[in-house]
């Protein structure tokens, strides 16, 4: 391959340069998910740290992802949810930028007392918020802490990944990078991974988005093909403000902790990390976040747990139930015969 320009080496060299530390460093962590999945000598686990405090909601990640992975366009609907017309992650959306508009707290307390009840399906937020619109009567002075939060969501590539656990074909697999990837040539579209995911990430592609990979479970691959050749995933490479950071999970966790400390020092008390804790319900996510509000504000589950954590108990219960049925059936043949 040649590079058409003066004096710049071919892109292979560029690729090598893209791997910051030259040859991939092998993981030494015995609990590394890749090692536990049979990858001897796996490189260090790769992941994303998404710092939503510097996200500008440009959606470059969404487009770069679709471009690289050939993910189809999935609908031209205006959703009326701020600048989010994507809605959420799904089979044909592997990156999703959430937009949350938060009015400042009104000066007066106890807003729910005496307020008219809010009805499902009534008009837009504006229609019945007028009495409480800070700007309506008071000007901008009292709403200085109006916030517009933005956050780019993605597959979490969990340490304990329910989708991977429940996949009956081995289509979903743990890669040597510790990520979780669907093998399009294997998946038979059983759909089990869909309800298994505690974050609602993976989804089976429907025909309207076709024809590529219709009926097959689809989600972020953390650009497995790019990682194979030492490249940064498309979304992280495109991200203009480095809100999406790619790297070794271990290092990213340190970076995230440092960033959190900085924000706390700056008085941003509401900053918190989400998904970075190896002791959480999914064993820590490979893609974790710095948030400025509760996880559910962004559409995240506040305390996700990999469903298979309870699987041994489930099997036990089912075993007892099966024996009960066997015993019951046997018992039903006891007694007097008519």
């Amino acid at each position: 391959m040649t590079l058409t320009t003066g004096g710049v080496p071919p892109v292979r060299a560029g690729v090598a340069a893209a791997v910051p530390d030259g040859a991939p460093v092998r993981t030494a962590d015995p609990d590394d998910p890749a090692r536990k999945s049979g990858w001897d000598g796996a490189p260090r686990r790769k992941g994303f740290f998404t710092d939503t405090s510097i996200c500008i909601g440009c959606k470059a990640c969404e487009v770069a992802c679709k471009e690289w992975n050939g993910v189809p366009e999935d609908g031209l609907d205006l959703l009326g949810t701020s600048y989010d017309n994507t809605g959420g992650l799904g089979a044909s959306t592997w990156r999703h930028v959430a937009f949350i508009e938060q009015p400042a707290a009104p000066a007066r307390p106890a807003v729910d007392l005496g307020m008219p009840a809010r009805h499902r399906g009534s008009a837009g937020p504006g229609a019945d918020r007028t009495g409480d619109t800070a700007g309506a009567s008071t000007g901008p002075a009292e709403r200085t802490d109006f916030r517009w939060l933005m956050s780019s969501d993605v597959c979490k590539h969990c340490t304990h990944a329910a989708c991977l656990d429940v996949c009956p074909t081995g289509s979903l697999f743990r890669t040597e990078f510790g990520t979780v990837v669907v093998q399009d040539d294997i998946c038979n579209g059983c759909g089990y991974c869909v309800p298994a995911c505690p974050y609602g990430v993976i989804e089976r592609r429907v025909e309207e988005h076709g024809p590529k990979n219709v009926g097959i479970a689809q989600k972020c691959t953390l650009c497995y093909d790019r990682l194979e050749v030492g490249r940064t995933p498309a979304c992280a490479q495109a991200c203009p403000t480095a809100s999406i950071q790619f790297g070794d999970v271990e290092e990213l966790r340190e970076r995230a902790a440092a960033r959190l400390a900085t924000l706390h020092d700056q008085g941003v008390a509401e900053a918190r990390l989400y998904g970075d804790d190896p002791d959480d319900g999914v064993g820590g996510a490979g893609a974790f976040f710095l948030l400025l509000d509760e996880p559910e504000v962004y559409g995240f589950p506040p305390d996700p747990v990999v469903t298979t954590r309870d699987l041994p108990a489930m099997w036990r219960r089912a075993g007892v139930a099966a024996v009960t049925l066997l015993a019951g059936a046997a018992a039903s043949f006891l007694g007097r015969r008519r």
């Binding site: 040649t2 590079l3 093998q183």
Partner: protein, 192 residues
């Protein structure tokens, strides 16, 4: 099928790999398919990569254009650029689609006066027709002097709008040919 093949097929059965390899739970190395094993980034298999500049706004982000079999297969940020450091906005990230969009109009269309539909036209004919139109209009609307007899050497019958999305070289030729043919009403987005 030779026995050897059967054996190989059997041994590559993930269940067997589960039982014999380092991945007993079947969630990693044991279940990888041949297809997956062969995966590589299309940036690596491209015939060449060409350095370019994003065509949208004027920040001037660097782009790398990957070409395979004379088709653009990927456009992404050029990390060498001190302006953009490899990053692109959503529009820049969509550049490949700008080039390869199946809906892109790549044929000349012609609408005759009072016509209700497009017709097709080949490039040479279109160029000939446009040349005629320009020269006819120029001849018809030529002003050698203004109403006070001062030389103006121009036509006010031909106008142009555009240039801000074009190359400097293109703008240079446009201004040069407009000026030489006496057409002065050339404008672009900078006025708008």
């Amino acid at each position: 099928m030779a026995l050897q093949d059967i054996r190989r097929t059997f041994l590559s059965w993930p269940v067997v790999r589960q039982l014999t390899g380092s991945d007993p739970t079947g969630r990693g190395a044991a279940v990888v398919s041949d297809h997956t094993r062969a995966v590589t980034a299309r940036t690596e298999t491209a015939d060449r990569v060409v350095q370019s500049i994003c065509p949208y706004c004027a920040v001037g982000c660097g782009q790398r254009v990957y070409v395979k079999d004379e088709k653009v297969v990927q456009i992404e940020g050029d990390h060498d650029s001190p302006i953009s450091r490899g990053r692109l906005c959503p529009k820049g990230s969509a550049s490949e689609q700008l080039v390869n969009n199946p809906g892109r109009q790549i044929k000349i269309l012609y609408r005759r006066p009072y016509g209700t539909e497009w017709e097709s036209l080949d490039l040479d004919t279109a160029m000939q027709m446009i040349t005629e139109r320009v020269l006819d209009t120029r001849a018809r609307t030529w002003q050698a002097t203004d109403d006070q007899g001062r030389d103006v050497n121009r036509t006010l019958g031909i106008a142009g709008l555009g240039g801000a999305t074009l190359d400097n070289e293109e703008n240079y030729l446009i201004k040069k040919i407009f000026t030489a043919m006496g057409a002065i009403q050339i404008e672009n987005q900078a006025r708008i």
